[in-house]
Chain length 223, copies 2
Amino acid sequence: MKIGIIGSGVVAQTLGTKWIGQAHDVVIGTRDPSKLDEKKMLGTTLREWLAQTENRGKVVTFQEAAKHGEILVNATSGNVSVDALRLAGADQVGDKILIEVANELDHSKGRPPRTLASQDRCLAEKIQAEFPNLKVVKTLNTINAAVMVNPQGLAGGDHTVFVSGNDAAAKSQVKDILKGLGWTDILDLGDISTARGPEMYMALWLRLWGATGTGNVNVKVQR
Amino acid sequence: MKIGIIGSGVVAQTLGTKWIGQAHDVVIGTRDPSKLDEKKMLGTTLREWLAQTENRGKVVTFQEAAKHGEILVNATSGNVSVDALRLAGADQVGDKILIEVANELDHSKGRPPRTLASQDRCLAEKIQAEFPNLKVVKTLNTINAAVMVNPQGLAGGDHTVFVSGNDAAAKSQVKDILKGLGWTDILDLGDISTARGPEMYMALWLRLWGATGTGNVNVKVQR
């Protein structure tokens, strides 16, 4: 499968490496692909990432990543996601599936960062409104990168990942991709407006991290 | 133990009944205690509640409830909590422990209700700021009334309740009360500002209810 990841930080790199290991054809899109030696927050430089993938991965522009992917991934910081997708271009993102994993956080006022999501501010809805043809599926924003690609590494995989989106076929395909990452408890919350739930949950996740001392933490929905 | 519950809806009634069954001395405080036959949202009338408790419970004013309780509980709708506590009176609530279980929801725009909590709007912090001597402990706002008093009824009790508050001794006492309700996984998130987490989580809980079709749902924090 051809996957175009918009964004180049730790989430993009971790998902990219995992999918390359599964023989997918992955590119990472970044604002300036010539800056291979820039240290990414929590991640390695893109030169190091390319080396890790034994040069099976590629680093390209946002636009080239959007063109490349049959499936797109938004792994930018939530604060710049809409800008990055605009740079990728509405004609390139088209009516593809966008796996939308970002959170809008404000790091300017100390730790923990402030979770900007609210009933009136939902990144997934904002992206869907800006790109109405895009099949936005919100998922994976409720765990850190390590848990995203290795759910079995936490409590034997006995915890939950959420999906929200308007297009049933797109959600079905994303669920298969999640299963491919090792997820067994995938809970479909409903249309894209339900993404407010997992986005606002980030405020709790940040406190779980604080209270448990580990970012390797997630919730199992008992029902 | 003398418990004064501020609020008289289903949460107040359910907690009250449970604690009366444990031989605590419980009063429910309401705006107008003479209105015993008014149907409460999701609950019974207070006359029916009194009958259920075999008249061991009492229905009194907010002020009398605050005076009665060694431990206070805020079980009002989040939207009127500060008003109700003002009516109870700063001199009556004093420096007691307040178990704060409310959520601010907006039911005016259809279902699910909108969760009003955000990084800039946290009910527990608002109450703590308004009554600086009160020992506010946020807890139990992340589940419905049935699960609050019978955690074993869901997944054998294998799920999590949170506490947030500034006073360690108050939190310790509230944890004992939670254990008395049957809770085994009690996660202390930190000071009162951490209540933003469980309050914003309500937006996810409402979608869990929608997606699973049951309000008997909660999360287990896997760590």
